[in-house]
Amino acid sequence: MPTIEPVFATAALVTLGAGALVVSLRNPVHAAISMLVAFLGLAVIYLKLGAPFLAAMHVLVYTGAILVLFLFVIMLLNLKPHELGVEYPLKTRLGLAVLCGGLFALIALPLLQDHRELPRQAPAAFGTVESVGTALFNEYALAFELISVLIMVAVFAGVLLAKRKL
């Protein structure tokens, strides 16, 4: 059995535990706070993978924008406990849990045969702003522009949908 690095193991356990809390907690505010913990654990995993720029972007985009947007909407809706809706009966949820466990087993069991080690040292320019920026603005310039159009459209759609009367 190969050893697991303690930092990675801790980050992975925290992330998965917080992720499980997100899908099981009833109160959306508690779920959002668990999602914050999961995102911070993921940032540690990104750092372990030698991508400090992506870890910073992850914290900026997910906790800085997406999570704040979620909390904003939760506060805006101001749901009372009876407005949270009725969940499926326990039997259905257990069945679905088994189904998703099966999905996990389907993906994870073949991975146990995979003994490839990650290179001990990432290439010198692996996760730096410079290398990511060079690739982004040369080979992937078109994709970058298209993403900016997509986000622009999403902003318009958000305003249009959420506005009470135009």
Binding site: V22, A38, A51, G85, I107, D114, V132, E139, A157
Partner: protein, 98 residues
């Protein structure tokens, strides 16, 4: 070991899939979609690290951009649904049911 990262990625994806299937609160469903996208990001970054290739990181950035767009539209739809129907329970939204 790359398989450790991929197993974490698969577990995150499965947790998110469970949330999408088993919960009826629209807010939680959107959060679960975010968890699934993050699981995919971990796998992309692990493979980028395995092959020492920066380009995998561009894909992660693109997924982040799509996730931001998706969540802004999703939450806007959620707000207008709540305004019109006074509910965030997907079980109550069955006006298209035959």
């Amino acid at each position: 070991m790359i398989s450790h990262y991929l197993i974490v990625s698969a577990a995150l994806f499965s947790i998110g899939a469970f949330g999408v299937l088993a919960r009826r609160n629209l807010l939680i469903i959107l959060m679960s979609v975010e968890i699934m996208l993050n699981g995919v990001n971990v796998a992309l970054l692990a493979f980028a690290r395995l092959y020492g290739n920066t380009h995998g990181q561009i894909f992660v950035l693109m997924v982040m951009g799509v996730a931001a767009a998706e969540v802004s539209v999703g939450l806007a739809i959620l707000i207008s649904v709540f305004r019109n129907r006074k509910t965030v329970d997907t079980g109550d939204l069955k006006s298209l049911q035959g």
